[in-house]
Symmetry: C2
Subunit: 403 residues, 2 copies
């Protein structure tokens, strides 16, 4: 395809995109990206739960509060997280927003800043400022520009991550485009998760916040690679209103929500799937939990266990490690009632060994992607949680970083 | 040395030791160990906090409660954890205790059972029962017998782990001997931590419990290799009373506590130090915490982070990962006030980059053992927490296990 994307994308009305190479990445690869939004664009964002946050998270949160959810531009750099950079890091971030605002003739607070890369190194502001004119000049409402944006926000990602959906409505076609970065097993700190969702729906910031909050649990909160939460993680949803369709219109709310879940789920899977260190994607189905929270916490405890993840790397049906991980999970689960299945084969029943075909289980676990189900026998809630094995390659790559 | 121990040991009065090979380990190596204690021996035990517990933990806890802290024999097998084995596992455990009790002419409840090895495989009781006569016949109050006991409880340990101390008192010399197993980075589930502490002090079970509880925090609770808590972890302290010295005697309480800390700390370090997968032992000093709990939770959060541990494997002074791990720790620490030192070099001040000599930091982190200090600026509490890097060898070994 001409724009270099693996699949055609739905381009939402009201946005232009651009990217450039400011020289932050020593490789000379693109490291700065811009999205401009038309007047009246509304926004909602969700940030990292890490208490140590990068300067752009502090500034972005403040700007969104000041404008009450209005955004006219998104400015992203990769290669440097602008985190643990003290008051100077905040100043640099503000200055970049202000320089861009001047060139776009908008308010400084209408720029949403984002950074990803190494922590604790001052952000070279000058390089970025000098790159702004070229960036502004390059803006385009094209798939090629979108592809460049997706490329420029990558750090250790090996492929750009995009997903889009559209659906008809009485007022006009509604488009949703998601662009993400985050590379599972490789340098997950550099691999901060950034997600930008562009739509031409008409919605208030409050409506967007409700929509976004409603889909996070079953998408980005249901994936885990290494259990770490970055200092820069951000999910931003923008709505230009240019489709003419609003949530009051018949069917739009439901269909937009579906599109949002689809796009976010696709981006989640792309993030988990990226990275040389991954051999297996594991869908953890936690069933018969008392409530969703309990199911999620159980999944997270399993996905955090080094012993479980290394067993997966060896396609080893050592379910005792899963049971043991459940035993130290937060919910007070009785291990003696737990069933565990590898694929569709029962391997542990009521917390005890159940005769099973180990060769078959090993074969199942040798697939690039498979399911492990855990029944807690406590209620009716369930989640499907996507995680990965832990390979020697992960350790090798993360041990090599920075020195 | 004749008994094969690296250092001379202090042999407490009132105990005999023996070991044998029952054939649970396919290698034919020793896999069953016995310690007999003289009449009147008191005991206190601390068990794993994992809710999924092995049969011997359930049975041992029940027996200790029934005898109100009296133990006449300790029976340990390695190679099979007797965990996730259902009601049958409990029966097998009871039967072994009863068979041994009959041969030693003691009560079944006076036998303290312990197992370590693979989870979810039925314990071959017959093999063990058939081995009991030989085991009972071999009992001896010698350093050689102690060395055999220490060997027989090993699983993936590469070296036996022993430490002992003694001190004079008016009533007579008091001896304390500790034998442990647990092998840090290799198969840490097989590597369940078992610690048996034999002393000839005279003390009530209540006094022993207070003594043991008082030293765990600064010893076994201050080490972490992979953040997992096994289903079989046990620390048992026995007191035969044969030295004639009791805690009422002048200086005995203080000196016994010191001896207990020394022995437990030495065993902790031996556990963390064992394992092919370890390249670095890291002493995490958490300082200026509000209280001990906060310091410990901060240390645990750092020691749990895969990103931190892999950076250590590469001797990479990437302190941003430590700061980020602190940001998701349980205590509500303000990352903006945190200082971090590698060795004696300040690398992060008030949560921001501080100019430092990276070559020097890298050299420090290349040592087999070094310190990282974190100042929280919240109070005066501190802990020293011992942990390790995460190497590709760890992953390789744990991925290979069982298949």
């Amino acid at each position: 395809m001409k724009h270099g994307l693996p699949t055609p994308i739905e381009l939402p009305l009201g946005f232009t995109f651009a990217a450039g190479a400011a020289g932050i990445k020593a490789s000379g690869r693109p490291d700065v990206a811009l999205a401009e939004a038309s007047p009246g664009t509304t926004a909602a964002a969700v940030f990292t739960q890490n208490r140590v946050v990068a300067a752009p998270v502090t500034v972005g949160r403040e700007f969104l509060a000041r404008t009450r959810g209005r955004v006219r531009a998104v400015l992203v750099n990769s290669g440097n997280a602008n985190c643990a950079t003290g008051p100077a890091g905040i100043s640099v971030c503000r200055r970049l927003c202000s320089e861009l605002a001047r060139r776009l003739n908008i308010q400084t607070e209408e720029v949403f800043p984002s950074s990803t890369g190494i922590i604790g190194v001052p952000l070279p502001a000058r390089m970025l400022v000098e790159n702004l004119p070229g960036l502004v000049a390059a803006r385009a409402h094209t798939a090629t520009a979108v592809a460049r944006f997706a490329q420029a926000i990558m750090t250790t990602d090996t492929v750009p991550k995009l997903a889009s959906r559209s659906f008809p409505s009485r007022a006009g076609r509604v488009n949703l485009l998601g662009i993400a970065k985050g590379s599972g097993m490789i340098h997950p700190q550099l691999g901060t998760m950034l997600v930008f969702l562009f739509s031409d729906l008409a919605a208030t910031p409050l409506e967007l916040r409700a929509l976004l909050g409603g889909v996070l649990d079953e998408t980005f909160h249901s994936i885990s690679v290494d259990g770490d939460t970055s200092t820069n993680d951000t999910v931003l949803l923008l709505a230009s209103g240019r489709s003419g369709a609003s949530l009051d219109h018949r069917g739009v709310q439901k269909r937009f929500r579906e599109a949002l879940v689809d796009v976010c789920r696709s981006l989640s899977e792309q993030i988990v799937g990226d990275g040389e260190g991954i051999q297996h994607r594991v869908y953890l189905r936690i069933e018969q939990a008392r409530n969703r929270q309990e199911a999620l916490e159980t999944a997270q405890a399993i996905a955090r266990s080094l012993l479980v993840k290394t067993a997966w790397a060896g396609a080893d049906p050592n379910w005792g490690r899963i049971l043991s991980a459940i035993g130290i999970a937060k919910p007070p689960i009785d291990g003696g009632r737990v069933d565990i299945l590898i694929g569709n084969q029962l391997v542990c029943r009521h917390g005890a060994c159940h005769r099973f075909d180990t060769a078959k289980a090993h074969a199942e676990m040798s697939k690039p992607s498979y399911e492990i189900s855990v029944r807690l026998r406590r209620g009716r809630a369930r989640v499907v949680f996507l995680t990965t094995d832990l390979s020697t390659e992960y350790v090798r790559l993360n041990a090599q970083y920075s020195t």
